[in-house]
Amino acid sequence: MSTQDGDREALLQGTLDLLILRTLARGPAHGHDIALAIQRDSGDALLVDHGSLYPALQRLEKRRWLSAEWGVSPNNRRARYYALTAAGRKQLRIEVDRWQRLVLAVGRVLGPDLATP
């Protein structure tokens, strides 16, 4: 899976945090894992910019939604593992809620006639 494919959607502004939190809700992971997981779970539809991922992780960690520590990956590489904190879990619920309301609202504006073009 190459990351230079052009047919994938770039992430909407602000959704990266939500996706990171969601991915980590399944268990601790390192940055590379998180990127792959998002891509995989979106059915290869979403493109995660690796260059933005790490600053985002740092940002979340600074807000104490994530905790991090260095560990060793299955293929014996050192990697920084991130895990969701209690505050992070709470934040995830808030973000999911907000996202669903957004989707609903945007859907309503678009109307049923445009639902299946």
Partner: protein, 769 residues
């Protein structure tokens, strides 16, 4: 969460790249190098990610400030000439202002050197309407009965103390004199200062009538006169020829709470012993006591003010026509209302001039910086072109200015710390306590002035320098951009400020110089050239009236016979040296009193001083009997005020319970001060029965400059012998001179008494005389 290091973040990205390379190699069968290269490409700009991390992680502005400081230092170092000029001028501006502040702060605002000084308040009274008052110091001081009234009523004060100042003859002190304070018993308790050695005053010693006369010495006097010997306790010392027992030594550094350094404290009942000329304790209309109180815990100033106002009203009830305004002042060395009023004007003027100096300096620097901004146009254009934001550049330029100002301010602070003591030494302030040391307030003012100065001279040039068309400036078209942006107009405005400020300063110095010249050339109405006074503290030496009469007569004969002496007269005082205020009441005419100043003189005084008579005649010593109606001479203004539009000669008035008849009218003279126009003034005849308290006034022939040599034959000065050659400031030119304590020589041989004199002299060296 502890801050994460940049390296840790780099490691994480490195780990990511390795993992991605592993994956690519495994899934797509790429070579290791190829996989790694692809991973890096996919990641995008690693450096940018690290920068974003760095910026998120750090206190960004702090780092920028650090960078700006480093840059500023570099760029200042690159132009040492400019930097040095700027530093010195700012140092001068800030220094002058801080020095002025330090002086006035020490005088009127600095907390007193005692415990909890902020709870201490002085009580002063200001009268208006119809009142008569003897003044010993300042009108706003209190009389003893008044103090007692406040003390008995004011519950807002946990204690109210009073003290009066008094000069003392004290053999063991360095110059034979000491400054004494007559105090209430609670003086040390109210001020919260301990008596270091021995004890304070006991209740019996303060009770009216008094017990054994006692004194507490200042630590300084104790060290100086007794070499710090604790055996001094219980011994007897001689102050103004009264014998007092030393019972204590005050805390080191404590010299009272007034401007004048106090050396000795005595309980109030001692007053008649050490000051035989007065009965201040009994007088209810004499201003002589400073009153200072400590607010009780929980009491507010407003409460205290209400209480003392009530006391003031009650005191007025026995004085119809008088209105007393009671003033509470936070404790400070120099806080009497009349002084603060005058000091406010003087301080405002000096402070304003100092600020003007700073303004001119700022304008000057601003101009320099504007010029530099043009020279730096290319540099700034490059920075702008490379993506530096304008705000960042302005911050950078202002940081440079701030660096200059703060460093200059430090120089100024040094100047301010060094300048006032030097100035004080110039005006001979050895008997004055002034704390001029640095303290947070002074430091704060210096910092504030520096910062304001930096903004004043740095902001506009910085804004101006960064407002340039980048493209043309980069091309080196400085001429074009200059034309378009007209920095010239701003610079002209700044030059305008500079010229205006400098002109103001020049005008002010011219005015000051003129008034100094005016004072020097002002005709005071009398001729001080060659006039010398000799004062004998006979009451303090224990001479009674009869013996002093003989001494005065004998001395007068000897002085008249002394070669070089042209004339001899007696007077209570010489002009400008002190004042004697007393109300006068006309006996024929309206029933009202007039507050006036007086001099008590012998008949020879007016001709000797060359004060002309306007009409009438002088009184002769023969017609002064000391009984019944006495002759008097009034100044023209005084006569005009007492009997407006009428012939004053032959009219009668009363002053200090003695009746006088006006025999002559003298010209108005500047007696009280050279700054004030001559006021109400009168000359009363000296009582022939008791000459104590009078000084001899001599007119010397020729130049007075050479006289001390001749005089030293019968008077040994204990001060420096060069005293007559000292030049004085204009306000002091006439009479302030040497204090010469004469201990050995003829007075002792002749009178058989140890004698201490003070003589004041005019200096003939003043060019206009």
């Amino acid at each position: 969460m502890s801050a994460r290091s940049d390296d840790d973040f780099r490691d994480e990205i490195e780990a990511h790249l390795e993992l991605e390379a592993d994956r690519l190699a495994a899934e797509q069968g790429l070579s290791r190098e190829e996989a790694r290269a692809r991973a890096t490409r996919a990641f995008g700009n690693v450096t940018r990610a690290r920068e974003r991390f760095h910026e998120a992680q750090h206190w960004r502005w702090l780092e920028q400030v650090r960078q700006d400081l480093a840059f500023g230092l570099r760029s200042l170092k690159a132009r040492p000439g400019f930097t040095l000029t700027a530093l010195l001028t700012i140092g001068l501006g800030v220094g002058v202002n801080t020095a002025v502040f330090t002086l006035f702060y020490a005088l009127i605002a600095r907390p007193l050197p005692v415990t909890e000084p902020n709870r201490l308040y002085n009580i002063y009274q200001e009268f208006s309407g119809d009142y008569g008052r003897r003044v010993d110091g300042m009108t706003s001081l209190l009389a003893l009965p008044e103090y007692r009234e406040y003390q008995a009523t004011a519950r807002s004060f946990s204690g109210l103390a009073a003290y009066g100042e008094l000069g003392l003859a004290f053999e063991r002190a360095r110059d034979g004199t000491a400054q004494g304070q007559l105090v209430t018993c609670n003086f040390f308790q109210v001020l919260g200062t301990a008596v270091r050695l021995g004890r304070g005053f006991g209740a019996d010693e303060c009770a009216a009538g008094g017990g054994a006369p006692v004194a507490v010495l200042s630590h300084r006097l104790w060290r100086e006169a007794f070499a710090g010997d604790s055996g001094v306790l219980g011994t007897t010392i001689e102050l103004n020829h009264a014998h007092l027992t030393v019972v204590g030594v005050a805390e080191p550094g404590f010299a009272g709470v007034g401007l004048r350094t106090a050396d000795v404290w005595m309980p109030l009942p001692v007053q008649p012993l050490v000051d035989r000329q007065r009965d201040s304790l009994l007088e209810s209309e004499t201003s002589w006591l400073y009153v200072i109180g400590r607010l009780a815990p929980g009491a507010t100033v407003a409460q205290a003010q209400r209480e003392v106002d009530a006391v003031g009203r009650r005191l007025d009830e026995t004085h119809p026509g008088r209105v007393t305004k009671v003033i509470l002042q936070r404790g400070a060395l120099f806080n009497a209302p009349e002084i603060q009023r005058e000091g406010g004007i003087v301080g405002g003027a000096i402070g304003g001039l100092a600020l003007l100096v700073l303004v001119v300096i700022c304008a000057n620097l601003m101009n320099l910086l504007l010029a530099r901004g043009i020279a730096r146009q290319r540099e700034i254009a490059i920075r702008l072109a490379l993506g530096g934001s304008r705000r960042r550049l302005v911050a950078q330029l202002i940081t440079e200015s701030l660096l200059l100002a703060v460093a200059g301010g430090a120089i100024g602070l040094g100047l301010a710390a060094g300048l006032p003591p030097v100035l004080l030494r110039l005006v001979d302030a050895s008997t004055v306590q002034l704390d001029l040391s640095l303290d947070p307030a002074i430091f704060g003012v210096a910092l504030l002035l520096s910062t304001l100065a930096a903004l004043a001279f740095g902001l506009l040039p910085a804004l101006h320098a960064t407002r340039i068309p980048v493209a043309s400036a980069l091309k080196g078209a400085s001429a074009i951009s200059q034309e378009r942006h007209r920095p010239g107009r701003l610079r002209s405005a700044v030059v305008g400020i500079q010229v205006a400020g400098s002109t103001c300063l020049v005008i002010c110095s011219a005015v000051l110089l003129r008034s100094a010249l005016r004072q020097a050339t002002l005709d005071p109405g009398y001729d001080p050239t060659g006039v010398v006074s000799l004062s004998l503290n006979l009451p303090q030496l224990g001479y009674e009236a009869e013996r002093s009469r003989a001494l005065y007569a004998d001395l007068e004969g000897r002085l008249t016979a002394t070669p070089g002496v042209e004339g001899v007269a007696r007077a209570e005082m010489l002009p400008l040296l002190s004042r004697h205020g007393e109300p006068a009441r006309p006996l024929d005419g309206e029933e009202r009193s007039l507050q006036a100043d007086w001099n008590v003189i012998s008949g020879a005084y007016l001709p000797l001083m060359k004060i002309p008579l306007v009409s009438g005649r002088l009184f002769t010593d023969a017609e002064v009997t000391g009984q019944g109606e006495q002759p008097a001479v009034l100044s023209r203004r005084m006569a005009g005020a007492l009997w407006p539009g009428q012939e004053p000669l032959g009219r009668r008035f009363e002053a200090n319970k003695v009746q006088y008849r006006v025999v002559g009218i003298a010209a108005d003279v500047y007696h009280v001060s050279l700054q004030e126009r001559p006021g109400y003034f009168g000359y009363l005849p000296a009582s022939p029965a008791d000459p104590r308290g009078l000084v001899f006034v001599l007119r010397m022939r020729g130049t007075w400059r050479r006289s001390p040599g001749r005089w030293s034959g019968w008077c040994t000065c204990s001060t420096r012998p060069s005293w007559s050659r000292r030049r004085h400031s204009p306000s002091a030119w006439s009479w302030r001179g040497c204090r010469c304590g004469c201990r050995a020589g003829w007075p002792r041989c002749w009178a058989g008494w140890r004698c201490c004199w003070r003589s004041s002299a005019s200096t003939a060296s003043w060019p206009t005389g």
